[in-house]
């Protein structure tokens, strides 16, 4: 890549259960323009056809904790897109 490290954010994205099945993958790497948030990651994911069925406002986590759509994300973060939970 020719873009400088500071102008982009590269994160690992995990998909689970129904979202993983719909997308045909459980993880991917995403590079976004900085500054990035959970919402901008989701917009970028939804722009690609394999993941077009992801909801606009899914439940999300950043680095193993629930996050909001406006949570900022940085290079190296692990973003998880969580289908409706069904434990218990």
């Amino acid at each position: 890549m020719t873009v400088s490290a500071a102008s982009t954010v590269t994160v690992r994205v995990l998909l689970f259960a129904s979202y993983a099945e719909a997308a045909g993958q459980t993880s991917l790497t995403l590079t976004l323009p900085a500054p990035a948030t959970v919402a901008s990651a989701i917009r970028a994911l939804r722009a690609q056809s394999a993941r077009a069925r992801l909801p606009e406002r899914p439940l999300c986590a950043v680095n193993l904790a629930h996050a909001r759509l406006d949570t900022p994300i940085s290079t190296g973060d692990e973003i998880a897109i969580l289908p409706p939970l069904a434990g218990g």
Binding site: R57, A61, H66, A80, L82, L85, A86, G87
Partner: protein, 164 residues
């Protein structure tokens, strides 16, 4: 302490972990695999989890219960393939008196359902299967304020708005 296991769950060791001479009340909850869902016959199910986060979230839920009441709580959730009648989740809460034990036990199961990233695939008698979607509206409801560009400074998300 691991909260997730693929092994069959047993209440007894969890009760033993929380009992002590000053705790006179122990409340327990077992979640058991049911043979029906929305009128369809279920033959078995499969739980999958985001393991690392599920462990972290279970730990947070137990810590919150133990901070809220004078209780000791033990929690385990099973993952993988489960047959009808098998135990999917076990909670034991011990307190000096029964009120706190019951309240903590109830709190923990409700929070587990709301917050811990675990999913359930049901296999039906007719050979089909499907991921279980919670009956009440999913998380997409009501997060519009959070998505607004002029949303206030982020704060830790409330534990009540993750929807189940």
């Amino acid at each position: 302490m691991a909260f997730l296991t693929e092994q069959p769950l047993d209440l007894t060791p969890l009760v033993a972990r929380v009992m002590s001479p000053e705790r006179g009340g122990v409340a327990c909850f077992l979640g058991v695999v049911r043979d029906h869902h929305d009128g369809r016959s279920v033959t078995r199910l499969e739980y999958s989890a985001y393991d690392a986060m599920a462990e972290a979230e279970c730990e947070r839920v137990v810590a919150e219960a133990e901070a809220k009441w004078d209780v000791r709580v033990a929690l385990e959730h099973r993952t993988g393939r489960l047959e009808i009648g098998e135990v999917a989740v076990v909670i034991a809460a011990a307190a000096p008196h029964r009120d706190a034990a019951f309240m903590a036990c109830r709190f923990v199961i409700e929070q587990v359902k709301r917050r811990v990233p675990i999913w359930k695939r049901e296999y039906f008698l007719d050979g089909t299967s499907a991921w279980v979607a919670p009956r009440t509206a999913p998380q997409a409801v009501d997060r519009s304020a959070e998505a607004a560009p002029d949303a206030p400074t982020p704060e830790p998300a409330s534990h009540t708005d993750w929807g189940v």
